[in-house]
């Protein structure tokens, strides 16, 4: 029998990200990932409360930074994941891309809401107000609305493959807000402090504050990865259940 030598084998990434393979390799990863996440959280909280000094300007309220900044980081990072997944849906039509995008949206929405909540509680003692319509806060609130809109759009369609393409386009358009969130503190004279961690000249913060901050950022990022894996597995199983439900309905009608 002749073999077509022009047909190439799928690469390692395609094999790894195939829904069936993903269900196989992600299952044994979940428990170790949950344990590592819990340990990193324990270390991070210990540093945040007992092994870091008060700030010379903000005093003890600087400890709010250890939950605010990781969630603010995730609000943008999760959108980045959705952005790449949307490209995967539209450009490469990858079977797992829209599953990843759909799973990430509620997680990103909650992280963004937490960033806004903790930021307002940090703002009151440091700026004297819970809220100010400045560039950073307003663009982050818009990001939350974009997340909520994307979740609503996913739920508006029964046909998830059709929804995936429409949501992907909306996600790519909504990504215009991300540079606004990121650079708003540089572009406009805002109440929010300028970028002080990821700057071209390095962090403008002592290591005693940076250490707990980076540990908490790692903890929240690991939590996101864990929840994303669980949510993706759930979405794959939901699609299987929907497919079986249709099969059962067709069998009943026949």
């Amino acid at each position: 029998m002749a073999v077509d030598s022009t047909v190439s084998k799928p690469n390692w990434f395609s094999r790894l990200a195939h829904p069936g393979n993903f269900m196989g390799w992600s299952k044994p990863v979940l428990v170790p990932l949950a344990v590592v996440t819990a340990l990193v959280f324990a270390v991070g909280l210990y540093y945040a409360f007992f092994n870091s000094p008060a700030d010379y300007q903000m005093g003890e309220t600087v400890r709010i930074m250890y939950v605010h900044v990781p969630n603010a980081w995730l609000s943008q990072f999760v959108y980045g994941v959705m952005f790449v997944a949307s490209l995967g849906t539209l450009v490469w039509r990858h079977p797992l891309a829209d599953v990843a995008a759909k799973a990430a949206a509620p997680l990103g929405a909650v992280f963004t809401a937490i960033a806004l909540y903790s930021g307002s509680l940090w703002g009151r003692p440091t700026w004297g107000t819970f809220w100010e319509w400045d560039g950073r806060m307003t663009s982050t609130l818009i990001l939350l609305f974009i997340y909520v809109g994307i979740i609503a759009l996913w739920r508006a369609f029964d046909d998830q493959l059709r929804a995936a393409r429409i949501v992907a386009v909306v996600t790519l358009v909504g990504a215009l807000d991300i540079p606004v969130v990121k650079f708003s503190v540089d572009w406009w004279n805002t109440l929010h402090q300028p970028e002080s961690i990821f700057t071209t000249t390095g962090p403008h913060m002592p290591m005693s504050l940076l250490t707990p901050l980076f540990i908490m950022m790692l903890a929240f990022t690991l939590l996101f990865v864990f929840l994303q894996f669980v949510a993706m597995r759930t979405e794959i199983l939901r699609r299987r259940a929907d497919s079986l439900g249709r099969q059962a309905a067709a069998r009943g009608a026949a």
Partner: protein, 57 residues
């Protein structure tokens, strides 16, 4: 080390709120997973299986 501070209430509310929201998110993701697994198990109990899952013995 955390000390006496008049702004302690903001720190407490920030951590309590973030804790509740984070645990709520974990609980919601877990509940969704459980619900879907039950639905799938109920369908398979009716003998409805994926073609790739093989025939029930």
């Amino acid at each position: 080390m955390i000390g006496e501070n008049q702004d302690i209430v903001f720190i407490v509310w920030a951590y309590v709120g973030v804790g509740v929201a984070t645990l709520g998110l974990i609980g919601w993701v877990w509940l969704q997973s459980r619900r879907v697994k039950h639905k799938l198990a109920a369908l398979e109990a009716q003998g409805i299986r994926r073609r790739s899952a093989g025939s029930p013995t």
